[in-house]
């Protein structure tokens, strides 16, 4: 069964450093997402991406964050200058168009990358 993969599983970085989290969505999916879960808190939406542009983003997704699909398979989340409060589990997800042509169907989640900012 196809699945979303993420690398690395755990990333430790110093405050102020740039990090890039990588995701390989399911191959025939066209919508891509990033979510995060700070320890003990809810899973929060960050951004969705379709047709090489951001289709929706939350207020968490400020100028420090960016997303990119550098090739036909990878989907990345970059944090330019990490802060202590960026420590969280980051989940990538993908979905297909769905029968109605909208991203209404299931979002398939990856295993997550645990980011620790020291």
């Amino acid at each position: 069964e196809p699945e979303v993969t993420q690398t690395p599983s755990h990333q430790v970085t110093q405050m102020g450093q740039e990090v890039i989290l990588r995701c390989v969505p399911i191959s025939n999916h066209l919508y891509f997402y990033w979510y995060r879960q700070i320890l003990g808190q809810k899973v929060e939406f960050l951004v969705s991406f379709y047709n090489n542009e951001i289709s929706e983003k939350s207020e968490i997704f400020d100028d420090q964050f960016s997303v990119e699909r550098p090739d036909g398979s990878n989907f990345t989340l970059k944090i330019r200058s990490t802060k202590l409060e960026d420590s969280a589990m980051y989940f990538c997800a993908s979905s297909n168009l769905g029968t109605s042509g909208r991203a209404g169907n299931e979002q398939f989640f990856g295993p997550g990358t645990r980011l620790t900012v020291l």
Partner: protein
Amino acid sequence: AQSVSQHNHHVILSEAASLELGCNYSYGGTVNLFWYVQYPGQHLQLLLKYFSGDPLVKGIKGFEAEFIKSKFSFNLRKPSVQWSDTAEYFCAVKGAGRRALTFGSGTRLQVQP
């Protein structure tokens, strides 16, 4: 803004007991509703979803959920739980036409053999 409330943070049941996990949402328009499960050490998996039609939806592993529009609720049920159902359960809502899932805080279910 949409929000999701899950009333039970931690539920402990014995095997064969019946399960009902509460989920209420707040959103002003048409919604799509989901229950996700996260088994220990694994990633989020979809249990079931509601988009339209029959408000009683059946999912995998014997789970079902009922959408009650007047109560803004989407409670998850299972008539007889197994030890293997030990996991964290997340209710989520998506506004029709939107991309973002809004999650509840999750319910940790512990099933004792």
